[in-house]
Symmetry: C2
Subunit: 209 residues, 2 copies
């Protein structure tokens, strides 16, 4: 008898005023593979934490005490405005991001990762409506204004809110294979924008001509 | 000075093994209008409740003790299999649904609403991969196999998981106007399938030729 393969452990960050869909869009996709992916919710302290929209999520374990994760997911939301100024959070994120095999950010979550310095010299994207602020958090990052998501080494960064779902399916293709991504999209009745360069929102936001 | 207009109160149901995106996709869209919409999370008891994917949501108030809501949102997920056999839940849902101005279901959440009898003689849809089971919960409903979502009177029912976001934007158009729906979609960088009859998943699921 062969041992069951170890599940991939995904750690998702929560903080006050996180953006709901930044977190739960990607987790829907990864969570549909629950025989292969284990999700743990990370935060400042265990317990309920309020989203930008009002409804609360739940932190299982503090970021500092969390086990090492294979995939680290960092969402955006208004709370990132405080987060970028929180050196304890940024250091804990840096520690987890350094040991993780993959790091994925959604929306303004890219600003938090940029503040760790780990994106310096790398290509990355973020929310189109907050792009200038996010850029200011990582002057040494090669910012890509027109992209649904950007992959550079182990770092996946996505555009705003809904783009996290497209990126998640892209990362699932990397962790497993493309057929798995397509299967997850079918289960979720989701029309996957599977082309990371196809970004319908850069132009309306005035980021490209 | 004119009084500030009353916010629309949206109550969203949670239960053990709810589907993450069924809930938080629509709530992302409504929650982006937080100056006009107030969200309250309803369930069997206050506190944390585990989703189908693992991460927990948070119930603010029991369904029975909840204030009357303007919009009632009923998600799907594996927990609906137990829910349809729970007469206390079905009666509480029926009471809230009768007094609500609008009732919206996502995915197999339609099965819960069907069990209240309120969909009898009305058109409705649901998840394409669980369609036969959902139909069996409401033999007197006029089931529509090919639809992203269906509107009949005050009832909005949607197809599986991701379809809840398209329906939510449709309902936002009803509550406010189409420009508001388009604005929310832009904020969320979401490509809205705004045609309720365009259903890419009915044919692959074998529900139509």
């Amino acid at each position: 008898m062969s041992a069951e393969p170890r599940k991939i452990r995904l750690g998702a960050l929560l903080f006050e005023e996180f953006e709901l869909l930044d977190v739960f869009g990607p987790l829907e996709m990864f969570g549909l593979l629950r025989d292969r992916v284990e999700i743990v919710m990370l935060g400042e302290r265990p317990g309920a934490v309020r989203s930008n929209q009002g409804p609360r999520g739940w932190v299982d374990v503090t970021l500092a005490e969390a086990p090492a994760v294979d995939v680290l997911l960092i969402p955006g939301g208004w709370g990132t405005r405080r987060g970028v100024e929180d050196p304890v959070l940024i250091q804990a994120l840096k520690d987890q991001a350094e040991s993780a095999a993959w790091v994925a950010t959604v929306c303004t979550g890219t600003a938090l990762l940029a503040r760790t310095g780990l994106l310096d010299g790398r290509r990355a994207t973020s929310n189109k409506l907050a792009f200038k602020w996010v850029m200011s958090q990582g002057p040494a990052v090669n910012w890509v204004p027109e992209a649904r998501w950007v992959e550079d080494g182990k770092f996946f960064t996505s555009s705003g809110v809904s783009a996290g779902m497209d990126m998640a399916l892209g990362l699932i293709g990397k962790l497993f294979d493309r057929e798995t991504s397509l299967q997850v999209a079918r289960w979720a009745e989701y029309t996957w924008n599977d082309d990371p360069t196809r970004d319908p929102f850069a132009k309306p936001a005035g980021l490209v001509d």
